[in-house]
Symmetry: C2
Subunit: 407 residues, 2 copies
């Protein structure tokens, strides 16, 4: 029989998949309140609208739904996406868009298109674990700079680029989540967005802008995306590749998203999609088209925002009341998104604390999973979108008791 | 602005995607009868059954359908697949199965798991173009041997292995489609199946067995799959990885398939799936579960077999009547599947003939797309499943006229 472990590709041999999955497997006890996942709340799912849309498309189009369909995406969804992005001052044609089978797929397509083993990706510290996982499959090297309260430490990134250049190395791209970053909830200021773009132009380094939470703003006013700022200079795609998903604004279960960018890049990613999965299922795309064109998504987004804003407020309030600030516990606030970042004193390793928390029937994601290199150990990612309001309050109390118990 | 073409990963830089896609784009004229695609016929789609199943699962499970779900697959589909494979004398547990987002996805997961740049894959000449595309994304090297009327030229494969060993090279795996191979329609004999397995054991080289058409047998009796023969020696997965899809037996549009094999390999592929797309949509999986458990798939498969058998007979009969055999035109026959392989005299390049055929309002796939190396130019792949019976007859007449016109 084959000794499989010695047969894997070099890139994949030591790759272990998504660390979050290993965390979630400890959560089978139904009494545990999980603040670990990044799940949107089913309380705001448009279930009756989805059923109605489903019935309609299966009545009209079942033959086409059951057949192979165009690999880059459905014409109707392209049109809906083009309209959707106009609200955000992004003006595209079909050739600038690739329908993906989720945001994770969008990340993987970016990784496969650009990364050879050892290629450098510039990232925030911390940054989205799913991006690290995707780029790890290409054996990328991550060079990171600690994120600041107003977003990416752009000066620090420039210093890193200069250091790399001295060794004749140029990063392949800069990966950022400018709006309500996963895991910290931090949003990049307008000043820094412009500064980051300038850096991209000056050093000729592309930016991959991941925008899953962009429409989930609860406070403050919208800031232009890097993509739209880039478009002011380069109509139809300059230095920025944008990654979008329907997972947080409609639902994750359908697995549909889209990448936007220069036609050359979109074509290459479409070619990779051909060898990877062929088409995204038409049914799933058609439901997303219905979401954008028939389900009054503006009203739905307003509802989502009010719903999550409420949860965020409760969460912050309860943390303020119960968390042992005197022990050095701190946390970020956020104007939107699904996550906050809680820091405990340096001597506490949250990967250990996680198992204590499980005993207290509460869970989070240990922060070390969100670092491309040299992980810090004393942070945790907290999700406030999925648990009910009552559960959120109880979870904070349990977590507070847990931290006090080991301090 | 970024000069994107100079930024791509080395593996992907020269990769152009699926050549078939470039062929299909010439077929927009509705008068063209296409024998090019590999599409199942919508005439046998279970549309009302799908609608009924859809209504039921959206009624009972919409919240779970809209949410993230388990990455390896749904428990209910695992159970249905385990039962489905028992008919075929394959006895598995959940740990032996990974639900994929289609057969193409299964191929890509195999390629990513095992192939480094330059790694050798042993293939038939010709072989399935989709496998070549997937493995090309890892810059595999193909070493092929001409297929024989009873399947893979196993002795020839052994000679290649010995030649490679002299240069200290060991192929990563052998890729075969034993049942009604795409593109030739050829089925591997039982004798050769046993011989190929022996070779795999003797040289310690895994086999990737692709089985999309296995249940579409119209003549003759079922032969045991390589996987089931391997299981006689190694319960739970020995040297063979099996790739399956619902595309040809239910429908391609849902994009669901499954890979089977040793738990170690399945786990590694699941890890890759985590970084690639996360979960396959639960809705799409649930419909496949309904297909296997509620739609009387045995009766449906009988119907499919009768329907395609009829088309194959008509096609063979019309070719016999019209094709200019005196000019040296030959073709394979098949006991099942969706394809036949037509050969024209050496001096005719079917990639050129394709454009003549378009003028005659008929289309096929030029055979050169099905070679991993040193493509032969004088073959074409013909699909007989999609066009209507009347269209099939007319297509053969047109193709015959086309061949005569250039001869």
């Amino acid at each position: 029989m084959i000794d499989w472990k010695n047969r894997y590709a070099d890139n994949i041999k030591d790759y272990q998949g998504y660390p979050l999955g290993k965390t979630l497997k400890y959560l089978s006890d139904p009494e545990i309140i999980s603040l670990a996942g990044g799940l949107p709340s089913p309380e705001i799912f448009q279930t009756s609208e989805l059923r109605a849309a489903s019935e309609k498309i299966l009545l009209n189009d079942v033959d086409k739904i059951m057949q192979y369909s165009a690999i880059p995406g459905e014409q109707s969804l392209f049109e809906a996406v083009i309209d959707f992005l106009k609200r955000d001052n992004i003006h595209l044609e079909k050739q600038n868009i690739l329908i993906t089978t989720s945001g994770q797929h969008g990340l993987d397509l970016a990784g496969r298109a650009f990364l050879d083993k050892g290629d450098i990706v510039l990232v925030d510290r911390p940054t989205f674990a799913g991006a690290l996982v995707a780029f790890n499959m290409e054996k990328a090297t991550f060079v990171g700079v600690d994120i600041e309260p107003d977003g990416t430490h752009v000066d620090g990134i420039e210093t890193k680029i200069k250091q790399l250049q001295k060794n004749n190395k140029t990063p392949k791209f800069i990966y950022v989540v400018p709006d309500f970053q996963n895991p910290t909830g931090i949003t990049m200021s307008l000043k820094k967005r412009k500064q980051l773009l300038k850096l991209s132009y000056a050093y000729d380094i592309p930016i991959v802008e991941d925008s899953p939470y962009r429409d989930l703003r609860y406070y403050g006013k919208d800031l232009p995306s890097l993509f739209s700022l880039d478009q002011e200079l380069y109509n139809g795609g300059g230095n920025v590749i944008g990654l979008y998903t329907f997972s947080k604004i409609f639902c994750p279960g359908l697995r549909v998203g889209f990448n936007i960018g220069h036609p050359e890049v979109i074509k290459k990613m479409a070619n990779i999609k051909e060898g990877n999965i062929l088409n995204t299922p038409k049914y799933n795309q058609d439901l997303c088209t219905a979401y954008l064109t028939q389900m009054d998504f503006n009203a739905h987004l307003d509802k989502c925002r009010a719903y999550y804003k409420d949860k965020l407020a409760i969460f912050l309030e309860t943390m303020e009341k119960y968390f042992p600030k005197e022990s050095g516990v701190t946390w970020t606030t956020s104007e939107g998104g699904l996550f906050l970042w809680v820091s405990v004193p340096d001597h506490i390793d949250t990967a250990q604390l996680f198992f204590e928390a499980i005993k207290h029937k509460v869970a989070f994601v240990p922060g070390e999973q969100f670092y491309g290199e040299n992980p810090e150990k004393n942070h945790m990612r907290i999700n406030f979108s999925f648990a009910s309001k009552e559960q959120l309050k109880e979870a904070v109390k349990r977590l507070s008791a847990c931290i006090k118990s080991i301090d």
